[in-house]
């Protein structure tokens, strides 16, 4: 029978980590790991960094070598997509037509990149989510001259930086007033705009894209709302992503809607449980965050692994103590290493704790209602870490500022 079979859908960092942790904790039962990509699981952050720049080859991104994967004793089904699930009957249907019964279902399907309403059929228009996208974009950048990046979030900003290093003419476009303003707020956003301009990027923030313009089936420019048109032979559309939950429509698994529920994705409690026997981890999952008093999704590499470890352990030791993860994110742009603990928002108050923005070496606290929500470091990783407990324990910002002055 398959009552104790664990089916994990999504074979990237979070899905694999659930399986690995369950084995480490002593789970000996059947584990099926289903993933629609054909390559063995790999790491995504280098896609927009070392892989794109050509510093690393694809093999370097592999999360576990074949021997380590084999050692886990999984029923690994790569190149296979889950088409639907039925939470009542406890089954998952795969695209090869097979139906898997499960005792436990773990949803680890991540996100899919958003696209513009039109223009993605043109040659030279890219998105960046998986390794094939990255290799295609890398190949294109070799012969490209003019790149327009639509969307100045982390992904877009990192790609702009890599493309400048490769010598391309780069324009970075975003309707928001500064790069990364949604993630890091105005102050750091303005600094990053300066950094990109100093490196020769044409930063066009505060203006939206009207359309991608084609000529003979290939992209030749990007028309902006201010009436200008930026010439381009290559365009990266990096306008965020949405949870990969289409296969769960009608399954009975609770899915959030941004407006009504405050967030999208699979709605979970503070241990990743969506329903008895159904869990979600990583980018697709909206865990209850007791610290923030709400559910939210976190699209960060470390959080994906941390959630996966909690769920993997829980499969074996359901009562194990759970410490809510503190989100961590990093981004490399030129010689800047940005790091973030917690979840900063543009509405937060910005407090410099150490260093200076002018020198591009600082640690800052982001606060709401007088309480530290996040700390952000730029080229000060070691110092930043010492402020992590302030986020973990929701310390009053006044206390943190006093410590900073006396430090």
């Amino acid at each position: 029978m398959s009552d104790d079979r664990v089916v994990i859908v999504g074979a990237s960092v979070s899905g694999l980590t659930v399986a690995e942790t369950a084995r480490e904790e002593g789970h000996t039962g059947e584990i099926v790991l289903v993933g629609d990509e054909t390559r063995i699981p790999y790491d995504r952050p280098p896609l927009s960094k070392q892989l794109l720049s050509g510093e690393w080859e694809a093999e370097r991104l592999t999360l576990r070598d074949q021997a380590a994967l084999d050692g886990l004793g999984l029923d690994l089904r790569l190149g296979t997509r889950a088409r639907s699930a039925d939470a009542e009957a406890r089954t998952v249907t795969l695209d090869d037509g097979s139906v898997l019964d499960y005792g436990t279902l773990v949803i680890a399907t991540g996100v899919v990149p958003n696209r513009l309403p039109d223009g993605h059929g043109l040659r030279g228009v890219h998105v960046l989510h998986d390794i094939e996208d990255a290799l295609r974009l890398r190949e294109a950048l070799r012969s490209a001259q003019r790149l327009v990046v639509v969307g100045a979030g982390f992904l877009g900003a990192e790609v702009a930086a890599v493309a400048r290093k490769l010598g391309l003419t780069v324009t970075l476009v975003d309707p928001l007033p500064q790069p990364l303003v949604g993630a890091l707020g105005e102050t750091v956003g303005a600094m990053l705009a300066d950094v990109h301009r100093e490196h020769g990027v044409d930063v066009r923030c505060g203006v939206a894209v009207r359309a991608l313009v084609g000529d003979g089936g290939a992209v030749c420019g990007v028309a902006l709302d201010d009436g200008t048109q930026v010439p381009a032979d290559t365009v990266l559309v990096a306008v965020g992503s949405r949870p990969a939950v289409q296969w769960l429509e009608g399954s009975g698994v609770p899915l959030g809607r941004r407006g009504a529920d405050g967030c999208d994705g699979v709605l979970c409690d503070g241990r990743g449980m969506a329903l008895p026997g159904v869990y979600a981890v990583g980018d697709v999952a909206a865990w209850w965050d007791a610290r923030a008093g709400r559910r939210h999704r976190v699209e960060h590499r470390l959080t994906a692994a941390e959630q996966a470890r909690i769920v993997g352990r829980g499969l074996v030791r359901p009562t194990a103590q759970v410490e809510p993860p503190v989100p961590f994110f990093w981004s490399d742009q030129y010689d800047l290493k940005l790091q973030v603990f917690g979840l900063p928002a543009p509405s937060h108050d910005f407090h410099l704790l150490s260093g200076s923005l002018a020198e591009r070496r600082f640690v800052a606290a982001y606060a709401a209602d007088g309480v530290v929500q996040a700390v952000v470091g730029c080229n000060m990783a070691r110092q930043l870490r010492s402020w992590r407990p302030a986020v973990a324990s929701a310390t009053p910002v006044g206390e943190v500022l006093r410590t900073a002055v006396s430090a």
Binding site: D43, P45, L63, R301, L302, A305, R309, F328, W330, D332, K337, Q339, G377, N379, M380, A381, R382, L384, R385, R388
Partner: protein, 66 residues
């Protein structure tokens, strides 16, 4: 036990330092990992294994002597 690191992969997350502060530190300049003790005493083994697991970019390789 012997610890090897692939420094180029390090993103300076500091997870290793939090897990095994007696074995790992981060460089002041760039936050990259510093191994304080590449052949740590047995009392540190569990913490080091934990660090290797927690590292988000799989920088730390642990060779167990058996």
């Amino acid at each position: 036990m012997k610890i090897e690191i692939d420094e180029e992969k390090c993103c300076g997350a500091g997870q290793c330092v939090m897990a095994a502060p007696e074995v790992f530190d981060q460089r002041e300049e760039d936050g990259l990992v510093l191994v304080l003790d590449a052949a740590p005493p047995q009392s540190q083994y569990e913490a080091v294994r934990q660090a290797a697991k927690l590292c988000p970019t799989a920088v730390i390789r642990v060779a167990e002597d058996d």
